[in-house]
C-alpha cells in the first residue's frame, strides 16, 4: 500500500468495520453528507445508508447515552464527537455509566462502545474547542484510551478498539489527520496497551504521544546533532499504560524527558513521572524532566496560542538544564 494519511487510515477502518459487521453503527454530528468535521466518515453514508451512518441532533448526552444503551443491547456503536471538548456534556454517561457498568453489575454487563474525538490545539479554535481531556478519561478505571500518531497505529488501534469488549476512547489530534505513513497490506492490529519505540537510542528516553510526538522527533534530531542519542517512545495507549517499555528504556538511558502538549498540571506525564521514580529511581542521573503546555485556556490569537504549546527548543532547554547535555 502506498503511504496514506491518518484520516484515510481511519476512513478505511470504519469502512471495513461497517462492511464486516452488521452490528456496527456510526453516530455523531455531521457525519453523514458532511462526512464528519475532519472527513473521517466521508463517503460512508452513500455506501451504508443513513441508519448505520447516522447524523444525530446536537445532543451529546443523548447520543452517547444511546450509544452505551445500544452497546449493551447488542450493537457495536462507534460514536464520533465533533470535538473532545463536547464530551464534557456527556461525561456522566462516559464515566459514571459506560466505564463503570461492567464492574458495578458484577461483570454481567459489557459496554463494547468506541468513542472517537478530535482533540488538541494549534489551529486557532480557542479553548472551548482546543482543550484535551484524554488525560482525565485515562484516569478512569474501566476506560481505555488510545491516541495514535501514525496511520498504521490509527488503523491498528481502531481495529483493536472494535474488538474490545469494553469502552475505548480514541483521540485524534486535529493537526495529525494529514500525517502520512506506511500501512501494511496484510491484516494487522495494534494491541491496546502497547507503547512503541519509534526511534531507538541510548542517552535519553523521550516519552510522548500524539502531536507532541512530532516535537519529540524534532528534539531527537536536534540532540543527535549534538551527539546525544535519544530513544523516543510513543505511548499510543494512555490507559492501560505500558510502563514496562518506559521503565526498561529509562534503566538503559538513565535520563528521561516526558513531553506532552496537554496542560502540564494534571497531565498524563505526572503519573508517568511518579511511576518512574517508584520503579527506576536509582537509575536516574537527574530529575525526571517534564514539559507540557502552559496552564491557561488556549488563547485564540495565534502567537499567544503558540506560546503556550511546548516547542522542541523549550524541551531541549529543560533537558540541558537537568542533565547538562
Amino acid at each position: 500500500m502506498p503511504e496514506i494519511n491518518i484520516r484515510d487510515a481511519l476512513q478505511m477502518g470504519h469502512h471495513e468495520a461497517l462492511e464486516n459487521d452488521p452490528d456496527v453503527l456510526i453516530m455523531g454530528e455531521d457525519i453523514g453528507a458532511y462526512g464528519g468535521a475532519y472527513s473521517v466518515t466521508a463517503g460512508l453514508l452513500d455506501e451504508f445508508g443513513p441508519e448505520r451512518v447516522r447524523d444525530t441532533p446536537i445532543s451529546e448526552a443523548a447520543f452517547v447515552g444511546a450509544g452505551i444503551g445500544a452497546a449493551v443491547g447488542g450493537l457495536k456503536p462507534i460514536v464520533e464527537y465533533m470535538n473532545l471538548n463536547f464530551a464534557l456534556l456527556a461525561f456522566d454517561q462516559m464515566i459514571n455509566i459506560g466505564a463503570s457498568l461492567r464492574y458495578m453489575s458484577g461483570g454481567q454487563v459489557s459496554v463494547p462502545i468506541v468513542y472517537r474525538a478530535p482533540t488538541g490545539g494549534g489551529i486557532q479554535l480557542a479553548a472551548t474547542h482546543s482543550r484535551s481531556y484524554e488525560n482525565w478519561l485515562a484516569a478512569i478505571p474501566g476506560m481505555k484510551v488510545v491516541a495514535p500518531s501514525t496511520p498504521a497505529d490509527a488503523l491498528g488501534l481502531l481495529r483493536s478498539s472494535l474488538l474490545d469488549p469494553d469502552p475505548v476512547l480514541m483521540v485524534e489530534h486535529v493537526l495529525m489527520y494529514q500525517q502520512k505513513g506506511f500501512v501494511p497490506d496484510e491484516h494487522f492490529i495494534v494491541p491496546i496497551g502497547l507503547a512503541d519505540i519509534k526511534r531507538p537510542g541510548s542517552d535519553l528516553t523521550i516519552v510522548s504521544y500524539h502531536h507532541a510526538m512530532v516535537t519529540a522527533m524534532e528534539v531527537a534530531d536536534k540532540l543527535a546533532a549534538r551527539d546525544v542519542s535519544a530513544e523516543v517512545i510513543d505511548l499510543r495507549t494512555l490507559r492501560p499504560l505500558d510502563m514496562p517499555t518506559v521503565i526498561t528504556s529509562v534503566k538503559k538511558t538513565n535520563r528521561v524527558l516526558l513531553l506532552e502538549e496537554n496542560l502540564k498540571t494534571g497531565g498524563i506525564m505526572g503519573e508517568i513521572a511518579a511511576q518512574i521514580q517508584e520503579n527506576a529511581f536509582d537509575f536516574l542521573d537527574g530529575p525526571v524532566v517534564r514539559v507540557g503546555a502552559e496552564d491557561v485556556p488556549h488563547p485564540y490569537n495565534r502567537g499567544l496560542e503558540q506560546s503556550m504549546i511546548p516547542s522542541a527548543d523549550k524541551a531541549i532547554a529543560a533537558v540541558s538544564a537537568a542533565y547538562g547535555i
Binding site: I58, Q124, P299
Partner: protein
C-alpha cells in the same frame, strides 16, 4: 391566533393592552443602515478570511432582519443580550463598532470582547451588555436564565434575551433552561433564529416537529413563530414578548424563520449537503431587500439615498479594516502575557 393573543392568553397576564408602538421613519432608516453596515462588514470578514488574515468567520447574512428587529424591540439601556456566534448584526445594532469587530476577527491587541483570547464574536462587552461566553452550543441559555433570575431577585427591571439556533434547540441545556424559566416566570425571551440547518444537519433530523415554537407549550410559556426575514414582523413579536416579560408575565419562546445565506463558517462548503435548488431558493428573499421595499413604499428611500447609505457603510468598513490591520498583535510576554486574566489577581497562583 394573533401573536398578541398567544402571549396574553398563555401567560394569563390579561394584558390585552399590550400594544406595539409603531416604528418611526427614523427607526426604520436606522434599522436599514445597521443591516447594510452588517452586510458590508460581513462580506469584508470573509475576504479577510480568504486572505488568510481572519482564522474563522461565521456569517449573519440572511439573519440581519431578525437581529435588527429583535434589538429594536428591546431596551439597550437595561436589557441583556446573551448571543451566539451568528450575531454580527445584533452586535452592530447594539453599537459595537466595525473596528472593534475587526480587532476580534484579526485577533489584535485591544480587542474588546476577549483580549484576543476567545473566538471572534465571543467574549463579553459590558458597554453594550453583550455576553457570549462560549461557542459550545446552547451554553448561553442557562446563563440567560441566571441573568433573569438575578434581575428578578434584585428587583431590577430588565429583560434578558437568549439567542440560539434551531440546532441548539436539541441540546439538553435548552430544555433545562426553558423548564427552569417557565417554573419561575423569569423575565427572559428565548429567541430562536431558525435557519433550517445545523451545519449540514437539516431541521428534520434535529426534531420531529416543524416548529421550535411548538415546544413552548411544554414549558408553560407562549411560543410564537414569525417571519424572520421581515424586520418589522420580528420587531412586533419581540416587542410583545419583551413587554410581557417586563410586566411579570414570564418567558416567551419566539422563533424567527430565517435563512443562512453562507456556509456554516468559513471552514464549511454547503454545496456538499444543500441541493442547488435549496441554495437558489433560499436567497430569493433577502431581509435587506424587504426593508428596502418597505422604505421605498413609504417614500423614505430613493436611489440616491440608497447609494449614499451603502457608500457610507463601505467607507466605515474600509476605515475599520485599516485601523484593525494597523493594530499591533498581542505579545505573549510582558504586561499582557498569556497568564493575564486567569484570575482577578494576576499573580493568582
Amino acid at each position: 391566533m394573533s401573536i398578541e393573543e398567544t402571549i396574553s392568553r398563555r401567560t394569563g397576564s390579561g394584558k390585552n393592552d399590550l400594544s406595539v408602538p409603531p416604528l418611526t421613519e427614523d427607526d426604520l432608516l436606522e434599522m436599514y443602515r445597521t443591516m447594510v453596515l452588517s452586510r458590508t462588514l460581513d462580506e469584508r470578514v470573509w475576504l479577510l478570511n480568504r486572505q488568510g488574515k481572519a482564522a474563522i468567520v461565521a456569517s449573519a447574512q440572511g439573519h440581519e432582519g431578525a437581529q435588527v428587529g429583535a434589538v429594536k424591540a428591546s431596551d439597550p439601556s437595561r436589557d441583556h443580550y446573551l448571543i451566539y456566534y451568528r450575531e454580527l448584526c445584533t452586535m452592530m445594532a447594539l453599537g459595537v463598532t466595525p473596528t472593534e469587530m475587526l480587532l476580534g476577527f484579526l485577533a489584535k491587541e485591544g480587542e474588546p470582547m476577549s483580549s484576543a483570547r476567545q473566538f471572534p464574536l465571543h467574549g463579553s462587552m459590558d458597554r453594550v451588555d453583550i455576553v457570549s461566553f462560549s461557542n459550545v452550543v446552547a451554553t448561553q441559555l442557562p446563563h440567560a436564565v441566571g441573568f433573569a433570575l438575578a434581575d428578578q431577585m434584585r428587583g431590577i427591571d430588565a429583560v434578558t434575551i437568549a439567542y440560539f439556533g434551531d440546532g441548539a434547540a436539541s441540546m439538553g441545556d435548552t430544555h433545562e433552561s426553558m423548564n427552569f424559566a417557565g417554573i419561575h416566570k423569569l423575565p427572559v425571551v428565548f429567541f430562536c433564529e431558525n435557519n433550517r440547518y445545523a451545519i449540514s444537519v437539516p431541521l428534520s433530523k434535529q426534531m420531529a416537529i416543524d416548529s421550535v415554537a411548538d415546544r413552548a407549550e411544554g414549558y408553560g410559556m407562549p411560543g410564537v413563530t414569525v417571519d424572520g426575514m421581515d424586520p418589522v414582523a420580528v420587531y412586533e413579536a419581540m416587542y410583545l414578548a419583551i413587554a410581557n416579560a417586563r410586566n411579570g408575565g414570564g418567558p416567551t419562546l419566539v422563533e424567527a424563520r430565517v435563512e443562512r445565506f453562507y456556509p456554516h463558517t468559513s471552514d464549511d462548503d454547503h454545496t456538499r449537503y444543500r441541493s442547488a435548488d435549496d441554495i437558489e431558493t433560499m436567497t430569493q428573499r433577502d431581509p435587506i431587500e424587504i426593508m428596502e421595499q418597505l422604505l421605498v413604499s413609504r417614500d423614505l428611500l430613493g436611489e440616491a439615498r440608497k447609494e449614499q447609505i451603502w457608500d457610507s457603510a463601505t467607507r466605515i468598513v474600509n476605515e475599520a479594516t485599516q485601523a484593525a490591520e494597523d493594530a499591533p498583535l498581542p505579545q505573549p510576554t510582558g504586561d499582557n502575557d498569556i497568564y493575564k486574566h486567569l484570575y482577578a489577581d494576576s499573580n493568582g497562583n
